[in-house]
Structures are given as C-alpha cells and as structure tokens.
Symmetry: D3
Subunit: 327 residues, 6 copies
C-alpha cells in the first residue's frame, strides 16, 4: 500500500492520531443514552485489530460500509476500560487493489513465490510417471494454483493467514522429504502426492478476501470430499495428455484425501486404512498441533506481560505453559 | 544356539522331522476320547510358532515343563485341518543360556550394539549441561541400560520383539534429529531427552525372558508413572556429581513422560500442555501407527497368499489394505 | 434353474437324499484323526444354508471349488449335534447362468421389474425440469440401473438380498410420497431425488454375485462419497442434453447424499444441515430400523420354537421381544 | 381479548404509542448511574417479545408484578442499539381470563378443537376392544384432556406453543395412519395408542400459564416415567367398566412410552425392544427434527434479512442452511 | 434335601461315583462321530456346576428334562481336557420341594430370617410417621416380602444368589445407619426408606426358581421403573389406613428409586438431583463394586492355584490383583 | 484480625459505612463515558465477596494493589441493579499476618487442631508396624503437615476453603472407621493409609494464600502423580529409621493414590484394580458428591429467597432440588 499513509494497528499508541485503509469487521449502529446513533466496529490490518467508534454517524451509510469491506479511517486513540480504542472522525468505504489487500490481511512471514517454487521442486522428485503427470496437471491449473498460493489453512487456530495453506503444505512436504528415507516400505510418491493434495479443497471451502470465513460450499460439502471429487477430473485431463493413472493408484490417493483427518468425529470419511494414509494423517496432525502450540506460546504475538499459562486452547483441550524452561 | 540342531519354525514343512530348543507356551493336558492323556501346547522360536501335540505323555511332568519355559523337542509334522502341526515324540525341559534366549525370542532385525551406540551419539548432541549430565546418569546405570537394550516396546502390536524399545526409541530420536531444524522454536534438548526417557519405564512394566507379558508393576503402576518417579532420583545423582538441573526443567521432562500417550483414555496422566510434550506425543504416535501398519501390510511376515485386506487391526480400528498400488 | 433338480435348503429334512446346484461358502480342508483329508464348507441357496462335509475328498480340487463359487452337489443328510448336516458324495464346480444365480441368492420377495417401474413412476412426478432431466440421465444409464435393480442394500442385517437396494429405495419413495403433503415447506422434488440417489453408490460398494461382500472400493471410499462423486458427472451429461441444473441445487443434492447416515460416527461426512437432508436421514433410519426389527421378530424366517427374545441385534443394541401382544 | 386495546408485539414500529395486556417476564430493578431505580423486563404476547423499561418506578410494586404474571402497559417505543425498545409510562398488574391467556401465549396456528376431533377420530379406528376402551378412558378424563389440548410440546425448540403437544401428537397419528399400511407386520393398534400416549406425561412435566417452564415433577420424575405410571391406573378404570386389557398388552404400551426417546442418553429408560416401540421412537424423532429444522429455516418467523445460515441449533448439532435451492 | 443322597459339586473328585438331585442347565443333543446321540448339559447345585455327558441317551426325553429343570443323576466322574467331567448313567426329571430348591441354588451365607429381622428393625427407627406407615405397608405385603427375602440381587456379578437382594439391602441399611450421623443435613428417614425400596422392583425383574434370569417384565420395563410405579399404590393403601404421605415426600422417594443407578447410561431415568438421591446412588455403587471386587479376589471361591490377577471383570473394567500385600 | 475494624461482607447492608482489610480480586481499570479512570474489583473475606468501585482512582497504583493481594478499604454501600455494591473512597495495599489471613479466607467451620488430632488418632490404630512407621514419617514432616492442615481440597466446588483438605480427609477416615468392620476382607491398614495419603499431593497442586488457584506443578504434574512420587522417598526415610516396608505394600499404596479418581477421564492413572483401591475411590466419590450437594442445597449459604432449584452444578451434571420434603 505504497501511496497511502497507514498506521499499523499493532504499533498504535494511546492518544495518537491514526489514519489508513483497514478491513472493517462487523459494523453496527449503537445508540447513546442521549438517543444519538454511533458506529461501532472492529478495524483490522495484517498486524492486528482495534475496537473502533465513530460518535457522529449517519445510519444510512451503514449499508455501504458493510458492502465495501474496506474503509479509509482517520481519528485519534484513547484508553477505555484499560484498552486502546480508536475514536474515528472519518470512516469511508474504499476499493483496495491486490497489493493493498495483501497488506491488510494477516499473511505468511515467508515469501509465497519461493515457497511455491519449493513445492514444485519437491513434486519434481516424484518418480512414477503417471503421478508426476497428475501433479503437473494440478500445477498447470492457474486459477487453482493462484488460490492455493493465497488461501489460509484455517479460519482461525493454525496457519490462519494468507499463504497459510501453502506454508502448511510445504512444511509437510519438507518433513516427509527428510522422514521418508526412514520408512523405506512407504510409497514415497503416494505420500508426496497425498500431502500436496490433502487440503487442496480448502481453496473453495474458505473465503479470505474480506476476512476469513467458510463458504456455503465449505459448510455443506467441505474440503475433504471436494478434494476427492476433483481428483478423477484432473486424472482425466492427464490421461488425455497421454499419462493414464491406474484406477488403484487414483483410489489410493482419494483414500488419503478422504481420511486425512484421522477419525470420523474429526471429519474423516473413513479411518485411514493404508500405511500411506495413516502416515499422512499422523504427519498432518503433528504439524497442525505443534504449530498451534508454538503460536500460542513462543511466537512474536506473545507479549511479555502474558502469564505463564494461556487460556484453554480448544483444539488442544488444555491451557498451555509458555516458558521454555531451558532458557 | 550354535551347538544344538534347530529347525526354524517359519521354515518347517509338512511331513518332516523336526528337532530343536523352543519356548513352550501354555502347556496343558488333553484327554483323547479313549481316555489317554496327551500334551498340547504351542512351541515358539524367533521365527514363529507351531501347534504341538505329544500323544503319549506322562501328566506328572507338566509342572516341570511349565516351570522351565524352554524345552528340547523332536518329532514329525503333519497336516491337520489345513494347518501344519508338530507331533512331538520327545519334549524335555532345558536350560537356555543368554545366546539361545536371543535365538528363541523374536528380535529386532538390527544390531543392538550399533543402535545403542547411535542413541548415545544423538544424546551426545545435547547442549544444555545439566540435561547432558542427566542423560549420562541414565547411560551409566548399567542394569537399566541392559534392560533398555533388550526390552520389547510392547507385548504385541508394534515393536513386540527383543530390542523393540531400543529400535523404537532410536527411530524417534533419528526422526526428531532431522525434523527439529524445521521447528526452531522447540527446545531441541528437551525433546531429545523426552524421547530418550518417554518409554524407559517399560523396562519394569514388561517381562520378556519367557515370552512377553506385563509385570505386576506394569499392571498396577505402569511405565508412564514409573518413568516419572525415576526422574528425580536420577537428577539427585547427577546433582551430587555436580550438575544440578533446575526444578522447572525437571518438571518439563516429567510432564513429557506423563503425557506422551496424548489422551487420558490412552493412558496420559494429563493432556500435553507444552509444545515439546505435544511434539513428543505426536511423533510417538506417528511412529507407532506407521510401524504397526507397515508390519501388517508390507513386512516379511505377510505371505503371498494373504488377501488384499488384513483382519481388523485393533489399535488402528480398521482392516488394512495391503497392496502398494504403484507396484 | 428349470432344467436341473434342486432341493431348497430350507425344506431339507434329516436322513434324505439331496441334490442340486448351490453356492459354496468358505471351502476348507479338514483332517480326520485317522489322518484323512475331508472337505468342509457351507452350501447356500436363496432359501438358507447348510453345513456340509465330503468325507473322501481330493485336496487338489479345492482350488477349483473356491474359484467357481458354485457347485453341483449330491448326497444325504444326517443329524449331528442336533443340527441337520449334509454329507455329500459328490461336489463339482459348475457354471451358473443369470437365472440360476437368481435362484441361488436370497432375493427380494417382490417383483424387481414391477418395483423398478414404481420407482420410475414416482420419479416421473418430479416437477422441476432440471431435476427431472437429471433423474432421466440416471435412468438412462443401463449398466448402473442393472446393478441398482439387483444390488442388496447391505451385506447383512437389513435388506441383505438381491433387489434389496431397490426394495428399500422404493419403500422410502413411497413413504415420502404419502408423508410429504404433511410437510408442505419441504421441497418435494429435492427429497424425492435425494432418496432415489442416497444409496446409489452401494452398486459399487458391494459385490453380490458370489455371496455378499464389500468391494475394495467400498472399503476405501464407500458408497456415501462415491454417490456424491457421480453427481456432477451425471449433471454434465444432463446439461449437454439441454437441462443445466443450478450449482445450488446440485450442492443440495450432494449434501443429502453425504449426510444421509445422520452422524459422523455412523458414516455421515457432515451433519445434515438442510431440512431436506434431515428428513431424508430420519426417514432412511426409520425404515432401516423398522425393517430390521420386523425381520428378526415377525418374518417368515422366525421359527415357532424360537423363544420370546432374540439374541442381541447389534445394530439395534438390544435383544428384541418377538410376540405381538394383541394376537 | 376483545374489549381491551392491544398492539401485537410483532407489528410494533419504532417511535409509536403502544398499549395492551402482556405477559411480563423476568421483572427486575435496575439503577441508573444517577442512582434512580427503574424497571427492566420483557413483555410478551403470542406474537413475540420486546425489551421494556419504565424509568420512573416504585420498587415496592415489583412483588405484585412478579406475582401477577400479566400486566397492562402503555408507553412509546424507541430504537436503542439498533433494537426497538418499549419505554413504558405505566405498567400495572392485571388478571387475565382464559380468552386473554390464549391471546397472550404463542399458540398453534391450527384450530385446537378441530385437531382434538381428528385425534379422537383416529383413535376411533382402533380395532382391539380393550385398547379402544383404554383410549376412551383417557378421552373421558376431562381435566387431563383439557391440559392435553393446551400443553406445549416443549419449553423451547419444537412445538413450544399452546397446543403444541396436541399438534405434534396429531401429526404423528396422521403420519402413522398413512405409513402403517406399508408395514403390515406392525400392530397398528399398538402404534396408534403408543403415539397417543407417548408424551401425555408432558401435561404435568410442563407449566404454561405464565410462560413455559418445567415443573418440579418434570425435573424430578419426567414425562417419560409419569406416562408409564398412569397407564395401570387408567387400565384399572377401563377394567371396572368391563374391558380388561391383558398384562402383555399393557406392558407393551408401557414399553413404548418408556423407550420413545430412543437412547438412554436422550432420556429413554430402556432401548426400544419391540418393532412398535422402535417405530414410535423413530417417527417421533423424524417429526421433531424436521419440524425444528423447518421452524428455523422456512417459517414465517424467518426474516428477509437473515443470512443463509442460522446460528448453531443445539438439538441438531449444526448451523442450518435456509434457502430452498429450487426456488 | 435330607432324604436323598447328594454329592456337593464343589467336592466331587475325579474317578468317583456321584449321585444326587441337581439343576439341569442347557440340555442339548450331541452326536458322536459314530452317529449316536448323547446328552450334553451342565448340572448345578448351590456349590458349583459340572460339565455332564450321558453317552446313551434317548432323544425323545430331552423335552421332559428341559421342562423339569431338575433331575436326579447318577454316574462316575473322569478327567477330560484337564477338567473333571461327569459321565452320567442316569438322568431323570424330578420335582423338588422348597427345601431342596434352597439346597440347589447358590444362597447367601447368612440367615435369611435374621437378616430380614434386622431390616425390620432398622426400618423401625424411622421417625416420620407417614414414612413409617409406608414402610409397614410394604412389610405387610407377604407375597412381596417372600420374594424380597429370596430374590438374588443380580443374575451374575454381585450378590447373584438366593437372598442376595436382602443381603445387599441390609448391608446398605447398616452402612447408612453408621454413616448418616456424619451427614446431619441429610434426611435420615428418606435415605433409609430409599435404600429399603431402591431395588425392590428386582423381585419381578428376575426369576430364580430354575436358575437366575431376567423376566420379560425385567427386559421391557426393568426394576427401576417398576419400583417407582408401585410406590403410589402402596401410599394409597397407607393413606386408607390413616397415614397420608405428602406428595412431595412421595416424589422424593420416587426420585431416589428412579435415579439410583447414577447415570442414564447405567440405567438411571434422571441424574440424581437431591442430596439423598445422590447419597443413595453413591452408597449403592460403593457396596456393589466393593462386594464384586472382594468376591473375585478374597472369597472362598478363589482357589490357591489361581494366579495373582483375575481375568478382566467387566463391571469393573479391569483385571483385579488378588493378594493382600500386608499378609 | 483483632486490632483493626472489619465489617464481615456477608452482613453488609445497603447504604452503610464499611471499612476493613479484604482480599482484592481481579483489580482492573474502568473508564467512565466522561473519560475518567476508576477502579473495579471484587473484595473478599471469609464470609463472602462484594462488587467494588472506587470512582476517583490513580491508575498508577494498580500494580501495587495487584501485587499486594490484600487492601484496606473504606467507603459506603449502595444498591445497583438490585445488588449491593461497595463504593470505596479509599483502597490501600496492606500486609497481612497469619491471623488476618485466616480471617480473610473462607475457612473450615471446624477446629483445625482438633481435626488434625483426630487424624493422628485414627492413624494410631494402624496395626501393621511398617505402615505405622510410614504414617509417622509423614506426620513428622512439619512443613508438609503445616500445608496439609491449611490446604483447601479444591479451588472451588467442594471443600474449597482453608482446612478443606484436612476436613475431607478426616471425614473419609471417620467413615472408613465405622464402615470397615462391615467389610472384614478389606485390609483396614491399607485403606486407612490410602485415605490419609490419597490427596496429599494437593498441598503442592494448589496455592491458597492469596485466593485459591492451581500451581504450575498442579497444572503440569498434578496431585495424583505427585503423591505417588513422594511415597518411596518417605518409605526410604522410614526404612532408615528401622522399619522397611515391603515393595508389594508400597506398590499397593501407590496404586491407591494413582487410581483414586476412579476413571482415566476423571484423572485416574489406571482403573482401580485392588479391593482397597476400589473402596477408596468409591468412598472419596461418595463424600465429594454428597458434600457438594449439601453445600448447594442445605448449607448456611443458601438464602431464603433462593428458589427450589439451583443452577446446574457442573460436577453433578444437573440442577439440584433444595427442599427437604420431610420438613
């Protein structure tokens, strides 16, 4: 967002002037005891979010703000209930271009192009010709790959940022790359392809342009089944191009995708029933849980004043202990 | 067992003469319809087990056979109900020395000395002085290390063979060694020590000299708590030798041991609540499940005539599909 | 099976001569104490099954019997352990044609052609043009419809007979036809199509020609997801023929198929989240449970000598009380 | 409520004068920052509820308002926090007669007399003389039938309105009436009686005159057991009048009542173990779940501005998708 | 059984002559390989059970044996498969009188009259007049009290013997008698009455004359609800005799009976929701579990040769350790 | 707190002057609409807690208040939202001595010295010399016994007050003392020692000086395992003093401690597998549940205006009915 001034939310001090373009979340009309309407909402950028009020507000503009999703805001901060609050004087809908969008949403700390290149490079090591052709068919789908590069891995919890799906997928591929030599009986090619595709359906399960949320597709069908539905379509394209993948191999890949959540109560369609499916489900779980734990205890977003224990982290079922006792 | 002839059970054909020293399992008296007593039992060696009958049997020797645990047997095989059965003419109790014992129990396919040396070597990379001293204290406990080198990792299911605990522990240490660089926020030293110690209590939970089984200690206390109980004792020894480990670090290690089964219903005392404890529990699960799946589908013990699906494998909750579809 | 004599298994008395073509189940070699091999197996036809032995048996012919699946057998019955047993003198592999196959497998008591015609007729009442075109596309798939007409609804438990899927589907369609007027806010067309398609994937999940069992496809993917994968393919065919179904409607149908088992732990991919999906799941459950209960308590297969309570019926979780207290 | 003016709550606009008799819910004393007491409460009628404040309020009259349950209120509405709020100038306790009560509580959209007549008429088709006499004994209990006609079927969720129990019971009887011909092995008379009686205990489990709630009886005993306790009493009355019902039939009816919630964790005393009990439990579940889903997605109370997904509906375990995709 | 010879089953040696009257369990026809029918069954008396065969047996007398339930048998014992087996020469149906019945069924080790007197005596300490009158009404029901004195407390597991219900009830009353002074806020009278009545319904849930089993009543209704159904009937009798029990007290007693299994999944109709109901459920559980554990580890039926661990005891979920480590 | 004035919180009326030393809970900065900072917090003493505000407050003193944990406060009460609120004019950090601490925390209603003397006295009845010596070793640990005398038994729910652990332990010992004669096969000495030690680990699991909370030790290790870890240390001390306890007895005691929560999902390390461990777990549960139920329904803290039903009590899973129906 090179051409407009922008105050990063994480750095906003009390009693300061603030202006910039922000994502607007949950705008609503409040009414003071005196009967006057005001705007209440959250503003977000890639660095955080801030409670915002505009005391003199024309109710009729609420619809425009909701529709736009992004606003230009200016005003001052003050402390209310021990919290910094943004008292805006102006809040106007704006259009944002691709670059600004990137700046407004929480995003991976790594370079997306570089990560995608690493994924390509690991897929390049697949030895089985038909599987390699299948991988190439996915890589050639530009629209899908564009989504794959930007899609978060979740609405919240772990890898909930632009590029999160790519980062998580790459981490799994790199882990597999170093681990697989220690499990020589596993089919390396199946595992690599399974990891590449296991969460691909998230590109239609989630929306991320204006805040992260589930799509109707995500609620009613889900990424697990959607990923499996795509597979025969891509295989048909690869077959037309000359590399027919055997039905058994296709089914083994579908099985990996359908079972990668491990248990039916966690969203798996079946229990994993091949060594490769079990390995993929376990590795996915290892990375998801470890990344979640580290994000709550050792990441940059942990503040010095946070206590030794987090609140209960629902996906882990417990409060986490933050200190590294060797430090 | 260099000096006595021995027919490996896996290779026994029908209608052949067989002799050798075997482990005797569940010896019982049967009675033929004609009222004659006979001996029925299983004989085992490191390669498998075989149903055995001795038709003319003196009941009074049953006690000796049970007490000995090992027998010298000779006789012929025949086919009964489609199964090869050993019709022994002689079954006599024998003493076995350490070497024979090794030959009679299923054992790791790897070299125990070499594996133990690898464990030592990875522990040697621990940077934190007190933790390193603690590791040395364990390594200096010769009785414990002797048990650690031979103990199976389980009574059945995964790594249920002599050296299984060592093999499983080493596999985890090697996995961690290559993975940890990808999780720089994890405390490498804590993870390495946690993995080394997580199942150490199995050395008193299990007995393995005469077939694998749980000890009374295993049934009433269990390896999870026993491992945690040992820790302050070892730390006290290390402290006397000059390296005092901080209470926080000790507690973090105990927490890893107490929680490495992941869920209370799987035997964890608490839910893992540090990133290191979560990582250890997930990695242990990954190796245990993957090794179990491979043993049932791709190992040498899978026979050509086995169908594509196994029976239900209880720890995995499902039948497994054996074929590698890329082969 | 017009041209060969055949004794129905249900009617076989003790000490009688029996001959006919039967399905052979689980043929195995037994050995008498005297060391002679004999054949042990079950023989089945549409009316029941009988324990069978052939005392003089050439082991080398076991493979042929297993491969054939069907045999011509002749011999006498006798009572052993209070049970009628078939002591066969001859057991020879045979080929069976389609008509004989029908005669050898348990089959619906209703006329398959007539039932299929009823299904067609109810589908004919669909008012929405695109949904109707979609139904016609399925009906035009002759291979699929041939399987749909013969497929059992399950390997055991309820509707485990040739034509069982058709009978169960028709029963649901007829129930919906009379019930839907009482729920005017439900979309009748969606419910009718959803019921028609909900179990269609069973045609590849199960095999039934030589006894009922799950296919590899059934074990690794399952009928729930397979049915959903087919839907866009059929919709594409219908679209080419001129009737494009809206994505929302397609998704609603997929959602019905994916959720018709009601709960993840019962095999649903998601919880049903539309009124139509909830209704379909509940109606399917009502018919499955009621049919199961009636089969165990009031059907022709219940014998006079059966006591008032059945054994525990696993899918219902309890023993059932047979008597109708008003009779 | 013919003789008093009454503004229906659903139709109340902002900034309007409102007066009428309403049910008062949860009256409490608030205190303004200035230290003055005010009344805060909800007012309800059959069409909805509205947040209400009376700024000048004499605390001493709170007890009277609580005791009365109904008030006459007058004042103006204003918008506060985007919600219409009723700022009452007067709130006085009043007595309400039976007609007004009907007008003040949410009530079935159908005619209670007509529905009850339909129930009578379906019960009239029972063929078994003793069961018919038993039905007549219930119908002759005027106090019970008066409660049965007005009782809601639940405190919230499904059929939570005056006449809800009658409406739900009639719906089940009508469903059974059209379905039972398709299950000829079910005892129609038992099912019809079972459906009539299955929820009869709700007439003492719930109270509805002054808002819907559980009685002490409902909390400590519950409608399931209470309904079963009544049965022998009614049977004794029928027997005195000349029709003795066999103990087996009585027990079968009690079993239906005791098991109609299907699972112990849902309140069933036993698992349903007769075909009729299973059918009743399944049909009850089908209507309850379908009615709940339709009420949240397709009923008049769904507003145009509601989004495509509801909040999570607890009894269904999920958010519901509202649109009918064929419309 | 004074007038007929009887060998106690527990004391039967190998190779001995045996005769006496026994309960016959599960009589069936077997057939020898030679085609001859024989009788196989269990014989039981109060001291144990023994596998029995009669090699020459006329099939037509099987029905008489089944119907009688008791037989006079004579023959010799031999050892088969390490187990003592009774090879009967004669097995004839007989009638047994009340005394013999007592001798043939496992029975409490205590004096039934004395125990019943103790129950009466503790009930005599109830201070509340109406509750005392209610207790007297139960005690005056001679048929019920006769059943209460003999009924086992279960079909198997704990107190599964004649007089078991009385012994268990008395143990609970005596425990409460010494414990209640330490919980002065509990209503002693309610607890005492609740304990007296909590399992009273077992007198119709179980049958015990010819081996212990559930009645149809037990399967379809159960002792929990039956006990609650009886209560108002007894209260009505007490009221006629002049002591009217308040509805609240009656309901509190019903609540204790309906909830004494603690959890719905264990058969409780509701969760216990009064201090007295919670106390009764907990005390019942304490005695049931402790008595079960002692019966499997420290009772006379534990043999010297039993190992330190029992098989898994299903109601306790685990194997039990037998030795008392202080002995 | 003899020398400073103190108004007990339970007795504070509306519109009164209040002063005293109180525990300060959760102090926070609020801001009025006018932008002025104020202090909001709870003040607690042994008799209850009160919502408190100080309108003119210097934010910079918040840290001191938090650190101190105790304050001297003075001001007036007023009614706000129907609740009495404390409007403090002064709130200053103070140090409190041991006596004041006792006065400020909720505390057992019984005399701690007398209770501890009773525990000693029951332990004095242990007959087994080594167990008795072990008990004396614990009693001789003055620091541990000081904590044992003051530690609450829980952070909330049951016995959540100073001396709660002692009161609960003594109640269990007294219950066992009167019950054990009725279970002569139980080892009295093991039960008594097991009860004395079962919750001893709570002395390091909880902190109570400044409000009750879990320690890091409690969160990561827990009292169950900590209690078991201590045991061999104490046994070693006793052994040095001349009384060596056999390993079997030590293990049996550890097993009691490790299993006293009954089920893994409630925190037990194993299922109780000895009669003594089962008895201890059941008795602990009986006292905990009964005490919880009585505290919510019949204790002094229940007010006249409370309704007949409590809110849902989470550890009991239900709302409780308060009235004693015989009163």
């Amino acid at each position: 967002m090179p051409n407009r001034p922008h105050t990063d939310i994480r750095t906003i001090p009390a009693n300061a002037y603030v202006e910039g373009v922000y994502s607007i979340v949950n705008p609503q009309i409040g009414t003071t005891r005196a009967g006057k309407s005001y705007l209440k909402c959250l503003l977000r950028d890639a660095t955080g979010e801030i409670v915002t009020r505009q005391w003199s507000f024309d109710e009729s503009s609420l619809g425009d703000l909701s529709a736009a999703g992004f606003v230009w805001a200016a005003g001052h901060t003050q402390v209310y209930n021990g919290q910094i609050q943004f008292i805006a004087e102006q809040v106007k809908p704006v259009d944002v271009d691709e670059d600004e969008l990137t700046a407004l949403l929480p995003s991976t700390a790594f370079d997306i192009d570089a990560m995608f290149q690493e994924v390509r490079s690991i897929l390049g090591t697949i030895g089985h010709p038909a599987l390699k052709a299948l991988a190439d068919t996915y890589l050639a789908d530009e629209e899908l790959m564009a989504a794959f590069r930007r899609c978060p891995a979740a609405v919240s919890v772990h890898h909930a940022f632009i590029g999160g799906l790519l980062e998580h997928t790459l981490q799994l591929l790199k882990l597999a790359d170093v681990i697989l030599p220690m499990y020589p009986l596993l089919s390396r090619d199946l595992v690599i392809m399974g990891l590449f595709l296991h969460d691909m359906g998230k590109t239609v399960e989630l929306k991320w342009e204006k805040g992260f949320d589930y799509t109707t597709e995500g609620n009613l069908i889900g990424h697990v089944v959607r990923g499996a539905i795509w597979l025969p379509v891509k295989a048909a394209i690869a077959a037309k191009a000359g590399e027919r993948i055997q039905p058994d191999a296709l089914r083994a890949l579908q099985h990996i995708i359908l079972t990668h959540h491990g248990l039916p109560e966690h969203g798996a369609v079946k229990l994993p029933a091949t060594p490769e499916a079990i390995f993929v489900a376990m590795l996915d779980n290892l990375d998801a849980k470890t990344a979640t734990a580290l994000a709550h205890t050792r990441s940059d977003s942990v503040r010095e004043t946070d206590g030794p224990f987090t609140e209960k982290v629902w996906t882990l079922g417990t409060r986490l202990y933050r200190p590294d006792p060797l430090k």
